[in-house]
Subunit: 351 residues, 2 copies
Amino acid sequence: FCLRNPSEHQHLRYNPLRDTWVLVSAHRMKRPWAGQVEKPPEEHIPRYDPRNPLCPGNTRANGEVNSDYDSTFIFENDFPALQPDAPDPGSDQHPLFQSKAARGICKVMCFHPWSDVTLPLMKKHEVLKVIDKWAGLVEELGTKYPWVQIFENKGAMMGCSNPHPHCQVWASNFLPNEPALSDRCQRAYYKKHGEPLLLQYARQEAEKKERVVVENSDWLAVVPYWATWPYQTLLLPRRHVLRITDLTTGEREGLADIMKRLLTKYDNLFEISFPYSMGWHGAPTGTHLKEDNSHWHLHAHYYPPLLRSATVKKFMVGYEMLAQEQRDLTPEQAAEKLRNLPEEHYKTREN
Amino acid sequence: FCLRNPSEHQHLRYNPLRDTWVLVSAHRMKRPWAGQVEKPPEEHIPRYDPRNPLCPGNTRANGEVNSDYDSTFIFENDFPALQPDAPDPGSDQHPLFQSKAARGICKVMCFHPWSDVTLPLMKKHEVLKVIDKWAGLVEELGTKYPWVQIFENKGAMMGCSNPHPHCQVWASNFLPNEPALSDRCQRAYYKKHGEPLLLQYARQEAEKKERVVVENSDWLAVVPYWATWPYQTLLLPRRHVLRITDLTTGEREGLADIMKRLLTKYDNLFEISFPYSMGWHGAPTGTHLKEDNSHWHLHAHYYPPLLRSATVKKFMVGYEMLAQEQRDLTPEQAAEKLRNLPEEHYKTREN
Ligand SMILES: O=P(O)(O)O[C@H]1O[C@H](CO)[C@@H](O)[C@H](O)[C@H]1O
Ligand SMILES: O=P(O)(O)O[C@H]1O[C@H](CO)[C@@H](O)[C@H](O)[C@H]1O
């Protein structure tokens, strides 16, 4: 038995960013699927819809009118999960009934004035504008808040209720669970091994090549060794970078390039607009800006739900929720499949 | 501001079983939903279907023929994620590329010979048979394996691909992430407070009442203070019990009673067969049987996905996957709603 032919035997893999394990049972792909099938993503979206609250010039739920924007457009979420002025819940602080104040701000950013494009279909200079705005938002909100979470829910399957290309930014007065865990793991690794975990990881993967999906001189996209979602990827800069705000102009251009290529491959996999949730993790901000955060390395996680086709997703349910995440193909198999896909988008391919 | 009227203000709550926080933003229920709607569960399932591999007397994928069972029926999963004899992956054990052998066994248990019943529609003595078999499986597999995970994925929405009432049992040679975390948290609490976490919690909730959904002399079902899923519940015995095998005959009867009542309320909430994933957590087994596990307290988690109606679920996506789980109604609101529902099943109610 060796990892080149693991499709016959289940095993566990360690996720050093979360200090957890994933069960890899690749032989499960052979099982027939008689369960739920999803509605494939809507393929025909009008470029402009007078009723869509995200389009330029339209009126939103709260009566505000969008500007007639021709690039990106940022506004405050009309139904924010975090507001700046929530009072302290003042619980009794019994160890089993602990509560804390949560304050913050939720913003929405439209990527483009058109509803019928997505990041992989946008031009490189348009994607670059999105990246600059991401950095701008982290810069701005990071002066006040310790955590600024940029994330994109893409596709109805991932709870996205508006087809217009957009992401969200939720900044909070607390470090949420996932970055807090990632911070602990990266800090411990740095202390023990003297090098940032993800910097070492990026170098190793660049050498090994078997999990690399796309790369350029500044960036690397891999299916991580410990991936849980079938086609999960991790996007990493090659240089040691703490935060998205620290990226050079060249690195931002490289990021626009690799994002376009990665997301084009995603769309090409099942020839649909590939659903996912993605988000950025970098060193914390706010008061953490003054601390030493050398153990951190900027990265983006892409979590796409589909497993077998445009309509059959991986269900993370009973065993996964109660015991441990389990995957049905190896990360190497997923990486190879993505790597071998064309870099030209199926929608713009001539034939 | 007080917790009796928290619907206006977001706050964080602590989950002592996982050492994590959940963001409660109850005002989000006001936001309109224009996103994905699910297919409601199939209401008309034939009692016997000659093509259903779970029905009595039918032939399964591997050619085996089911017995002509008239109560429960247990067999080995035809597409197991865990097999008893997987070899050691023998990785290089670089700290970023760690793997381990995973061995185990996966079983399926049919609850009843009929496909058109579910636990809440079964008779109490039939539910009792299921409980006895659960205990029997933990007894049997627990002699060899440190963890025996009993779980039920109910409904196509939860990845269940067969409407016949059944659950699964996956036993492993390792302690999976979730029970390992729960073990650490319960152990630390016991050391610090001298009482098992969940025993103290059950007593407190029985007094407070505001999160109790149903109870009887031996059991309590609550929407936990730290619930993440909209109508999540936690089922707890009142007496200190380590494992399902330790339940007395009276406690098993009480469990059949409370399960039937809780699951009837679940079905009555939106008048559909309510989807969920559920599972049992008790003290670990195998070599752990000889250790002191007094910090453990047996419990079942119910994780149902629906939020607003039979067709609108809560999406745990971008922010939840990348940062922290967020809920849209308070646990107290959910408990009150469930508590006030009738205990007679909508399908058997006369009118
Ligand atoms: O074992 P089943 O019913 O084929 O599969 C279902 O439950 C498993 C355990 O939670 C999951 O891994 C699968 O994604 C799900 O479809
Ligand atoms: O903010 P939206 O797009 O209304 O909502 C979506 O993303 C949120 C953040 O991940 C989730 O909490 C919601 O369940 C999901 O539907």
